[in-house]
Symmetry: C2
Subunit: 329 residues, 2 copies
């Protein structure tokens, strides 16, 4: 048995910025002060036509490779998570593999979709590939281009921002990866999604707007505010660790006020988490990797040696996943 260790991160953020004020001016809808005060979002990044999910993913990966001092050929497996795919088929991962020049080495690449809960899930899957000893370096990427699916006519669309985050994991003799836990509740299937798909991929569906993000019923804040602490406790029990061992805990960057509440409920100080929605808006599958990258940039991981780093991600469907690592410099 090997352990999977996080060795490097990289992110990509589209240049174009839309502030809350601009969103209000363009859409004639009021989102303030709710967006800046409750959600923690003051602006969003909007991907251009060229900044597709695959393009952003490849750019984030290049930065992670550079930081790891690796070449594309050093990667044994690429796993990409998104619910805003480049295409319905082939998988977005195969295009990213090509953009990175990894096709020359026939590096395996596939997609995973647990919607915005991808962040913690990909780390779990990658760690299992590494743990069994036959994969050394695994590149995971979360990429998100939800603004391409917006109608720009509902206030809740102000939530979304585009971007990508990449993490490289490598085999190590010491932990590393400790474990993960997850839960799904498919009875939420119809609440929120892009319902264009098999059987609906026709002109009638388009006329009905099914190619756009559809918001049918809200998730109550309790889903995360009660669900996240429960998930953290379940994970700690599973891996035989205590809350005191936690050095850093990163959540899906969806609502700052919920993160504050969850940290209070857990009895952890706000210094033990890190948020980036203030910088990057909500970037779905990419957001916990962007939060980790930013925490590293701000030297928040400097004193984490041998402490727990926990990733908690949530997504429509409904899904929640928590994955734990022991941090090693």
């Amino acid at each position: 048995m090997k352990y999977a260790k996080i060795v490097a991160t990289g992110i990509y953020v589209p240049q174009k910025v839309m502030t809350n004020e601009e969103f209000e001016r363009i859409t004639h809808m009021n989102i303030e002060p709710h967006y800046s005060q409750v959600l923690g979002i003051t602006h969003r990044h909007i991907s251009s036509e060229e900044e597709t999910p695959a393009y952003m993913a490849a750019e984030a990966a290049k930065k992670a490779l550079e930081r790891a001092g690796m070449k594309p050929k050093d990667i044994d497996l690429l796993i990409l998570g998104t619910d805003t795919p480049e295409a319905i088929s082939p998988p977005t991962a195969t295009k990213v593999q090509y953009l990175l020049g990894m096709h020359e080495h026939k590096t395996p690449a596939f997609d995973v979709n647990a919607s915005c809960a991808n962040g913690a899930l990909l780390l779990d899957i990658a760690s299992r590939y590494i743990s069994m000893g036959d994969y050394r370096n695994v590149l995971v990427i979360g990429t998100y281009a939800m603004t391409k699916f917006l109608s720009w006519k509902y206030p809740w669309e102000a939530l979304f921002s585009d971007g990508a985050g990449a993490v490289i994991l490598s085999a190590s003799e010491e932990p590393g990866y400790l474990g993960a836990t997850m839960m799904t509740d498919g009875s939420w299937w119809y609440n929120w999604g892009i319902y264009m798909g098999a059987g609906k991929a026709d002109l009638k569906a388009i006329e009905n707007g099914l190619h756009k993000l559809d918001f049918r019923a809200p998730y109550p804040a309790e889903v995360n505010e009660e669900g996240w602490p429960a998930l953290v406790n379940k994970l700690l029990k599973k891996i035989g660790r205590k809350l005191e061992d936690v050095g850093l805990i990163l959540f899906t960057q969806v609502r700052k006020k919920s993160i504050v509440k969850v940290m209070e409920k857990l009895g952890l100080p706000m210094e033990k988490t890190h948020t980036v929605m203030e910088k990057y808006g909500y970037t779905g599958s990419a957001c916990v990797y962007m939060a980790l990258h930013d925490a590293i940039e701000e030297e928040k991981t400097k004193d984490l040696e041998a402490k727990l780093v926990i990733f908690i991600t949530s997504g429509v469907g409904y899904q929640q996943i928590a994955t734990a690592f022991i941090w090693r410099e």
Copy 2:
């Protein structure tokens, strides 16, 4: 370390059948004798509006659960593979989880997409979850509804058929799962796919037909005819086994003549493979599970005890994956 053992299978096949003759009559295109003689396909199953990818997946899973003598609550993890998803988001797996009543137990569920190479990949991922000891019973499902993405105006569309296949894997003290190998070549990204996705999900894209399966350049037959034997040899080397150990080898059911050639190249008799394209047409992500199910039905697995069973799957992108098990009754 535990081992993952295949314990049961189930399939779902849509009622509506279209023969080659009917295809020719409806589309005014000639596909015979090529389809029956080279591809091995005499008819295809067309899913109705109600027979969506999620519906077919749930029906196949119900049959596998019944055969395994299990209830939905006995399943610890559901992994679904498709490149014809129910929707772009949420993942199809979450809807299937709900249809199976597993939401009551919050059973984790997520999607994987390695296009039509999903079959062998899902077995690999599921086996790794089981091997690490924290998941006992994993349900994997391949579901395929490609006829919903057809324009019915090209002869190559006669290839596609709909259906679903499910496999349940359980933890075991003896192998079981031995390993897998895979390769991707993303330089084939543009050959064949459904290119509707992020950035293209607008009316202009629809006018250009991007919501339909697009075939831009053929994959030469060598991709499988040379790729499959190479992959089998790579896999055998990795798991330290010999060709003589092979009891059954199941391929993506895409072209019967290629399977005959590959078996010849490997020096294996045709009795050591099993084909179902004659019964079910080409069913993408579902096809190797349907082939295994049919082999079990026809008692071809009766004398396989302790022999190797190998799954070889290929898909657009381009991806090839091979996964090996020791068969246990």
